[in-house]
Amino acid sequence: MEYLSYVAASLLSPGTFGLVFAGTVLGIIFGAIPGLTGALAIVILLPFTYAMPPEPGIALLVAIYVGGISGGFIASALIGIPGTPASVATTFEAWPLAKKGGVMKALGIGMVASFIGTFFSCLIALFLSPVIASFAVKLGPWEIFGLCFLAISLIVSLSEGNVTKGLAASAIGFLLGSVGAAPICGTVRFSFGLQGLYSGIPLAATMIGFFAVSQILVDFGKGNTRLPEVTKAKLRGLGFTFREMRENTWNILRSFGIGVGIGFLPGLGPGISSFVAYAKAKSASKHPEEYGKGTIEGIWATETANNATVGGAIIPMMSLGIPGDSTTALLLGALTIQGMTPGPLLMENHPQFSYVLFGALLLSAVLTLILQFWGMRFFPKLLQIKFHFLMPVIMLICFIGAYSDTNSMFTLVLLLVCGLIGFLLSWADIPLTPLILAYILSPLLETQLRRGVSYSRIGPWEFFTRPLSLALLLISVFSIVYAFLKPTLKRRKAAVAASPNPRDGAR
């Protein structure tokens, strides 16, 4: 409570409020346009925050995060294409409902469910993060190493299709993170005599290169430069009744719990939470046969769950300094650029800043609801933005962002190199999320590894003798091994299911 007046004064000052407002609008726009995401908007807006004090800078970026996750359902309802990966499951119901003439209902439910998910999950994060952080400051280097290792392992284990490639991506991330002065001793590694690499590959160039430049190259190569036609409909009112909402109370609560829980676990994210919530809603429904034909239960479930992951993912980011997904990894990078050290000490050393961040999350959730309600009639126009104007501007801002991070032309070259590597990795089907997470966490991981061995009398064995550290490492190893075995187990299960039952033959 002691920080309430400070947070209110900070967020309601015209400058910061204007930035949160602008960030929310931009997040919704980027979330709504298929092919663009809130993460991309964060990358693009990152250079604008260099010259800002930390509080308004981070408030702008978290507002984009909230708007970006929420905005994804707009394209699902209007053109049948998810705006973001988080809204894929929403499309299953929102698009059939829109085709039946229920565009307004789909949009209205999407708006309110998004608000419920984001606002209340961020409230939980606000109260839970300090508790977890106060516990986390008591952890030694062994446990922090285990936590970082677990975060990366979970993300790798979810690499779709090929776990080996996920592991390769994280190894590349570690190698990129090893460039420049080593932590603790300062030995310069892999700089090839280039002064620009002495302090490592700049974070901004890496993030912008891998996320934005490579994506622009892939999209242009694939010819993804146009959007389909928008469904024309009269947009008026909220679209659904209070009774319809009350009938979905348990569905909303269950999906909310799924979203927060999945958001908290590193590597999972809004895409997965919305699918799990959708599956649960369908299995619990009295009318499962209606699913896929435009039932509102599905939209309540998916939109509440994917937005509830925002608060869930913020908890480990704020209390442990571990990002839950690629977007929180970018926010973590932005905190580092602003001179903040993410982790349990952030809340202890900079409580005012931390509470402003939570306040910005809550404020942007409210603004998202208001803006979406007010701007509903403009959504069809939003989806008619011409790619041939948008993409060049994004590319130019990427260049400015990379340059202004270090004021060095060399960073522009690094940006293009990272973009090229990102493009080649996309060609090779190697996922970028484990790479970025490993790159961001590698200094922390290496520091804790070296400290852990130095502080111990038994050397590296200390990592395996401390209960929490051992448990975290075992879960990490198990998640990777299970991910490797999963396709084989699935095949066997399918083979058993397909084979004729010997009892049937006996009859």
Partner: protein, 156 residues
Amino acid sequence: MKKDRLVGMVLGIISIAFLIMTYMLPKSKYSTAVGPEVFPYFAAGGLLLCALGLIFQREDPKKAKAPFLDKKGWLRVLRLGGLLALFPVIFIFLGFIVAAFALLFAMIRMFDAERKVPLWKNAAVSGIITVFLYGLFTYLLKIQLPQGAVLDFIKG
């Protein structure tokens, strides 16, 4: 050659190069029990194992995927890549305004495959955005964007 095998071989070469560079790192006077070489050894060693995994893994013939890009797509990427590679050069010699205008103009032309945007409109949009971004960064955010080596030379 299958794509994964090729990827595995390239990653294998990269990992071996990093292992050699790590071996050649100077020993630090301040290094602890775990020196600056241990972490890169783990990373490069892990990458080598992944590379071997990709080279020797059995490929599922049912998993035949559509090609990543067609021939025209690769040509498009090459054109855009070339343009982006030119940007830092123009940026250094002619400064932000010329480089930004040229990049926007060329990219709008490239992305507008159906040639619906007339040249005058393209030039006007590129010019307005360039001036807007220059003003925003230079005057509002106080981030200096270079004028270019040529102008610096003329000014002495």
